[in-house]
Amino acid sequence: MLHARKRIEIVVEAVQAEAVTDLLDRLGAPGWTIQPVLSGKGRQGLRRGGDPGGVFDNVLILCIASEAVAQRVAEARDELLGARPAIVAISDCSVLRGEHF
């Protein structure tokens, strides 16, 4: 009934989101969801979105995928880090309808 999968969570600049989702597509991810971010803090200090050019906007990309895809994402480290994500966090989860993921 429940099937073990990986939950990949990436915080990245909005302008780089398409580069990340293109990569996820190429690595065989069955889908992804982009969520808005209001503000954040990291190594570069405070970041608050909403400037006219959208330069300081971040987004959060969520991707539920198989262990194998998660493995490939971790291995595509160099390409992924080219998009300069602030976080790439991977955790375990179970899904209903394993056939889809």
Binding site: A19, R48, G53, V55, F56, G82, R84
Partner: protein, 320 residues
Amino acid sequence: MSSLSLLIPLPVMFFGLGLAAGLARSDLAVPDAVAKALSLYLMLAIGLKGGMALAAPGASEGLFGALALGIALSFLLPLPAYALLRGPVRLDRVTAAAVAGHYGSVSVVTYAAAAGTLTTAGIASEGFMPAVLAAMETPAILTALLLARRGRQGAVRGKRHLAREVLLNGSVVLLLGSFLIGWIGGAGQKAQLAPFVEGLFPGALCLFLLEMGLLAARQLRAAPGRLSARLVVFGLVMPLIGAAAGLGAGLFAGLSLGGVALMMTLAASASYIAVPAAMRLALPEADAGVYVTLSVAITFPFNIVLGIPLYLWVAGLAVG
């Protein structure tokens, strides 16, 4: 009181209000969607108004010369900017190239403030200037990329996006599109659109400058250590270099007093929407804190407070 009001136009006072509120950490805020709506409105109104003016007989004379000179300015102004930034300012190459790109391009709101000043002063200008504004938005992006890549291998990242950003940038499309629509269709419908295009303009400009002041304050507070004294000086000197080049171009193109003042303003202004977004995409190594802050918090206020009256005065000497 009225003497002060003659010195500082009302919209500029709203910039001051926003800046003061932001620096004092007031919770005053303009929602993003509202700022974007105001920005769309200003471009649509500037474009339509210019296009309608151009529909008058003989109004298109000099259009192509002004366009060509504007495009040349946008391509070339990043070069002195880059030289200053690499030389005396000592910025790293990639950030220097990104900053230089901003100064070749233009700021729509600075243009709007200058156009408002002309209207208040009753000085006419060529109807095609909005087309020059649109044409100057993006060529500088290409120069910035060439500067950043000089002597280096490696493809530009996100080329596809970037091409769109340069050729099909939203501001360019809306400005040029509204301009064409105003040109083709405006003559007969001018009166009908006047309350929208002209009636709202000063108020919308006030509200948008309030937001620009808040934004400038946010940038200044977020990046206290980011702007060296040399960078600040660059942000005040570069507009003067741009304005001088704009003066030459305007005179060469045979523009009127108002047209020369607008050309100087365009060349002096620095982009704060199109170029930052393109640079973030193409040159992620460049420090966005530097170019956004410099453009929004140093050059923009300098231009609207001191620059525009100065350019208008100089244009008067040169043309009059």
